[in-house]
Amino acid sequence: MSDRPFLEFERPIFELEQKISDMKDFAVGENIELSGEIVSLEKKLEKLREKTYSNLTRWQKVQLSRHPKRPYTLDYIKLMTTGFIELHGDRFFADDKAMVGGFAWLDDEPVMIVGQQKGRDTKQKVIRNFGMAHPEGYRKALRLFQLAEKFQVPIVVLVDTPGAFPGIGAEERGQAEAIAYNIREMSRLRVPIVVVIIGEGASGGALGVGVGDRIMILEYAWYSVISPEGCAAILWRDAAKAPEAAEALRPTSDDLIKLKIVDSIIPEPSRGAHCDPEAAAKLVKKAIQETLQELSLKSTDELLLDRLKKYRHIGVFQD
């Protein structure tokens, strides 16, 4: 994806914004009265924004989830928590920089917060491997989850990944085993787990840290069995058919509520989290705190039984 500050479908909005800004500069520079024209263009802009964002296709929402300015895991940690101490390494092989985590305070409540991390600029993208973790990332996450369980600290997971990394090293070190084992172990961790899909939730790479008591998703995030591009490459035999695949997969927050896969949608600031990261973080923090409060009322046995039931009942079939 390019680093320009707008998505393709936002181009008319961006151009109109530019025009208004130019006109304002011109009016001031030349000392000409243009306020009437400016007001009418601003009204037009507002209408255009509303029209664009209230009719987003699934594919456009997927693009928003990948917006180059969208807040990432460490942005949320910085904006929502205090006293974050990042903990590194899986104790077997390496420290996977595509997966971050550590202890932090949500106001006066301690949490273990873990999630995939994407990079902002080219160098960071490479260091973070585009948010695609290797097996050591999943094993680091599990180590931190178990640390949280040992000291009875609730777990918060922020999911944002285009998938677990498909590479030679990842296979050699057991990507499938790492994810399978995480899924099994997370289903039995004896502390509350709140999962928030903040951007992309692609496949086993997301689920490998995504088992919890409550699953929440940001308005413009998505979660599915495969990325639209991956699905298009296999079923349409053409990755360019991703927009069609995005429609077919029903991966958006609205879809997931209807399919009863997520428990709630966290609304985003107008036009997406990237337009106001502080406001987005406030909304996410509030949702996490309310959910943790609700989960704290359950006994551990009740929590685990409910978690098992939650997953046991997922599936649509005829019997």
Binding site: A164, F165, P166, G167, I168, A170, E171, E172, R173, G174, Q175, A176, E177, I179, A180, Y181, I183, R184, E185, S187, R188, S203, G204, L207, G208, V211, Y223, S224, V225, I226, G230, C231, A233, I234, L235, W236, R237, D238, A239, E244, A245, A248, L249, R250, P251, L256, L259, I261, R307, L308, Y311, R312, I314, G315, V316, F317, Q318, D319
Partner: protein
């Protein structure tokens, strides 16, 4: 890109390497030509290179279970189309085609059986049914097989072959990984044995859930295993993959499977293991 060449509809790569028919059979792997009846005796394993041909699920039932007897459960449970999914074909049409091809309602057969006189809960996946893909029904039937093992306190044996989670059911398919793995956690806590048998191929969502969670993982020689498919990896890293990458032998060498077992020895190996792990 050559990978995405449009040839024909559906998933044509899955048609080959079926049971060889005719009087003479040519090995897909080494080209050795073998007399058909001889292949039957050899359980469709190439005498020259040990390549294991894909065989129907019924053959495994005959081969593994006492007297080839399976008391089948959940026969009628079948797929719906919750996403109204359509690519080049409508999902219900794919299901119908798979049902006609296999004579079965879905991609897994499950039930109760005995092996060496030991009662077991058994499930076997069928690669002929939409690439052995796991949707809601496959997940549910595997889940019920695990629950039968827990309730009846008997060992669980699953024979896997799958391209992964079924895309046509979207997120619901992905969640079957969590459903099955969460139940396996209970089986694990109850110290009931689970032997996972991997056959060619076992990849993606199935490999990243119950297939990888056996107390013991057995695998047929030269099967394709792994998380990502070789094409995806090749496209991602932009270089050729090493010889034998993601084969049974590769994963044995890397420490992710317990034992490579020739098809003719599978039954005896499972029974021998159960005698160590299960004395009830």
């Amino acid at each position: 890109m050559a990978w995405f060449r449009k040839s024909k509809e559906g998933l044509p790569t899955q048609e080959k390497r079926n049971i060889p028919e005719g009087i003479w059979t040519k090995c897909d792997s080494c080209g050795e030509v073998v007399y058909g009846k001889k292949m039957e005796e050899l359980l469709w394993v190439c005498p020259n290179c040990d390549f294991h041909f894909r065989i129907p699920t019924q053959k495994y039932i005959d081969l593994l279970l006492d007297d080839g007897q399976l008391e089948e459960y959940d026969i009628e449970i079948s797929s719906l189309d919750p996403l109204k999914f359509k690519d080049s074909k409508k999902y219900p049409d794919r299901i119908k085609a798979a049902q006609q091809k296999t004579g079965k309602t879905e991609g897994v057969i499950a039930g109760m059986a005995t092996m060496g006189g030991i009662e077991i809960s058994f499930a076997i996946m069928n690669f002929q049914f939409i690439g052995g893909s796991m949707g809601s029904v496959v997940g549910e039937k595997i889940a019920r097989a695990i629950e039968r093992a827990i309730e009846k306190e008997v060992p669980l044996i699953i024979v896997s072959s799958s391209g992964g989670a079924r895309m046509q059911e979207g997120i619901l398919s992905l969640m079957q990984m969590a459903k099955t793995s969460a139940l396996l956690a209970i089986l694990h806590e109850k110290k009931i044995p689970y032997i996972s048998i991997l056959t060619n191929p076992t990849t993606a969502g199935v490999m990243a859930s119950y297939a990888s969670l056996g107390d013991v993982i057995l695998v047929e020689p030269k099967a394709l295993l792994g998380f990502a498919g070789p094409r995806v990896i090749q496209q991602t890293i932009g270089q050729d993959l090493p010889d034998g990458f993601q084969s049974s032998e590769f994963f044995m060498d890397k420490g992710f499977v317990d034992k490579i077992v020739n098809r003719k020895d599978l039954r005896d190996t499972v029974i021998a293991l159960l005698r160590f792990m299960w004395s009830k």
